[in-house]
């Protein structure tokens, strides 16, 4: 990994944390999903995976060690892999907006599965059901954000990648 990769990864990780904090006053409306998708499409799987690990670790520094923070190490990489696989079959922004919506709507479920390992299945089900309204909003807002911003962001990233010669070297 080159020095410029390290710098790039640091900046991308910081932008995710900043993006999350900037929208944290609106429950379950976030830009992290879209950014992870854009990073995966434009900068590749490997670099985005490293960004995801740094992002999850930063959350521990910010919020302390909790079971939900641990889940971050699994749900964001799952999104990245999903986006990478989807990019092999689709290219339209609608496909990625739908993927963002599905991911947002299943966010609570993914966490509930994780929480079940610690507190039991009954707790996991209660956790998921209570959070369904948030998941619905999360899915809807993810779609709206992605359908508006996905294409311009991918275009912008691709321009910058060309300008700074940042194409992934795996």
């Amino acid at each position: 990994m080159k020095v410029r990769d390290l710098v790039l990864i640091s900046l991308l990780s910081a932008s995710l944390t900043a993006g999350k904090m900037a929208l944290s006053f609106i429950p379950n409306v976030e830009i992290v999903t879209l950014l992870f998708m854009v990073y995966t499409i434009t900068l590749g799987l490997k670099r985005t995976m490293v960004v995801a690990v740094i992002f999850a670790t930063t959350e521990i520094f910010l919020y302390g060690f909790n079971t939900w923070v641990l889940a971050y190490y699994f749900v964001w990489p799952a999104l990245i892999v999903g986006t990478h696989l989807a990019s092999k079959a689709f290219s339209s922004e609608y496909s990625f907006a739908i993927l963002a919506a599905v991911f947002g709507a299943s966010f609570g479920f993914l966490f509930a599965v994780f929480e079940s390992f610690f507190y039991g299945i009954a707790y996991g089900i209660a956790y998921w059901v209570r959070g369904i309204p948030f998941d619905i909003v999360h899915g809807g807002s993810n779609y709206v954000i992605a359908i508006i911003l996905y294409k311009p962001l991918v275009r912008l990233f691709n321009q910058q990648i060309q300008a700074y010669n940042l194409k992934e070297i795996d």
Partner: protein, 132 residues
């Protein structure tokens, strides 16, 4: 009409519709005293060993403690890790003597703090003065 705008409108209608369906069929209705839990406070050196049985709708232990904070004479302290339990019944854990309040659930040490510890029906929560 712009295709994207139309799709956004469809999604907004879906969100509202699904939200309505949820509140109609799935929303948990809070019932007074849904769970019954036992709370024990043990401060051996002060001869304090109190047991309470509470009916609660609270999700986490901290909510239950806050509900009964006057009766328990609960004292908490804000830390970077969240609120910490520091006192009960007028006794405050002595930092200098390395004292702290340990939480035990059904005989096993809790791995998380009161704010993250879920309340489960029938469980026994013991808060005991200990040293490290």
């Amino acid at each position: 009409m712009n295709k994207k705008l139309l799709s956004i409108m469809v999604v907004v209608i879906l969100v509202v519709g699904l939200g309505a369906l949820y509140s109609q069929f799935l929303a948990p209705e809070a019932q007074e005293g849904e769970k019954e839990v036992t709370l024990e406070i043990v401060i051996e050196k002060e001869g304090i060993e109190e047991t309470f049985v509470y009916q609660t709708d609270g999700e986490y232990l901290m909510e239950l403690l806050e509900e009964h904070s006057e009766e328990l004479e609960l004292e908490t302290e804000e830390t970077s890790f969240g609120d910490m339990l520091v006192g009960f019944f007028g006794y405050r854990a002595d930092d200098g003597a390395n004292e702290f309040f340990k939480i035990v659930v059904d005989g096993e040490d809790a791995m998380v703090g009161a704010a993250e510890l879920p309340l489960e029906d029938g469980s026994v929560y013991t808060i005991e003065l200990d040293t490290f």
